[in-house]
């Protein structure tokens, strides 16, 4: 089953978020509150994840296809531009407001928390607004340059 594997990997990822404390927004905010009683735990989440990730991507970088024969799709973008900086800033502000980023949002949805549900809805709306604005600007570009 081809969708069983991504489902199981999602489960492992979600359990990692729960065990680490990332799925508790109050703990995330305590990490982001440098001037208050600082809880540095989440730095260790990054350390643990990157320790494994470094090995995994080193192995993956030597291959053209995955162990299941699928193409390895690495990001190709290199540029550090206004989109990257503005997008990361907006994301960071949103993360700091509620203490929730996309992975933990989905885990909170699964806990049945009404606030988790509302956050996920708003997050999808934000993503949909982005997709729509991209389409709009592409359509405008096509109109101003009809030869392309």
């Amino acid at each position: 089953m081809s969708i069983l594997i991504p489902l199981l990997i999602g489960l492992v990822f979600g359990c990692g978020l729960i065990v680490s404390g990332m799925s508790d927004p109050a703990k995330v905010l305590a990490f982001l509150d440098l001037a208050g009683d600082w809880d540095p735990s989440l730095a260790l989440v990054m350390a643990g994840a990157i320790a494994v990730g470094l090995v995994a991507f080193r192995l993956a970088g030597r291959r053209a296809t995955s162990l299941r024969g699928k193409p390895i799709q690495m990001p190709t973008a290199r540029q550090i531009d206004r989109r990257l900086l503005a997008g990361s800033t907006l994301f960071g502000v949103g993360w700091g407001l509620a203490g929730i980023c996309p992975g933990p949002a989905l885990v909170l949805l699964g806990t049945g928390a009404a606030k988790g549900f509302v956050f996920v809805l708003a997050m999808f709306a934000g993503m949909a607004i982005f997709t729509a604005s991209e389409r709009l600007s592409r359509a405008r570009q096509a109109k101003s340059a009809p030869d392309q």
């Binding site: 990822f13 990054m46 699964g110």
Partner: protein, 145 residues
Amino acid sequence: MITIDWLHFTPASAFAGGLLIGLAVALLILLEGRIAGISGIVGGLLQPLRQGDVAWRLAFALGLVAAPLLYRWLLILPPSHIDAGWTTLVVAGLLVGFGSRLGSGCTSGHGVCGLSRLSPRSLVATIVFMAAGFATVFAARHLFA
């Protein structure tokens, strides 16, 4: 000066959870050839590039949603506290959704996968969103509280 909250500092479970997240990242790239960036995986559902690109995204997201159910069934699910009010939650959700798509990644895509790939672009993104997160919490808790 920074005061560390030793009472709530949980280095062992944080590191162990981090290893599990790393395992999931490793499995997704080595088995499926994909980057475990949650905003990209979920956001891609709204703009599928080709047929056959939807099922794995949905399955992965479903795994994340099902994780607390599985966890609760096997062990005791640790409590989570969402202190933000409803309006704040909606604004935060909109910013997280829009910002992570505009910036091509979030904590997982840039913060974990990008740093593991030693990508300068992801390093910059991670520094920027962490700084924005620190600044936002500082403003909310210490300037306007």
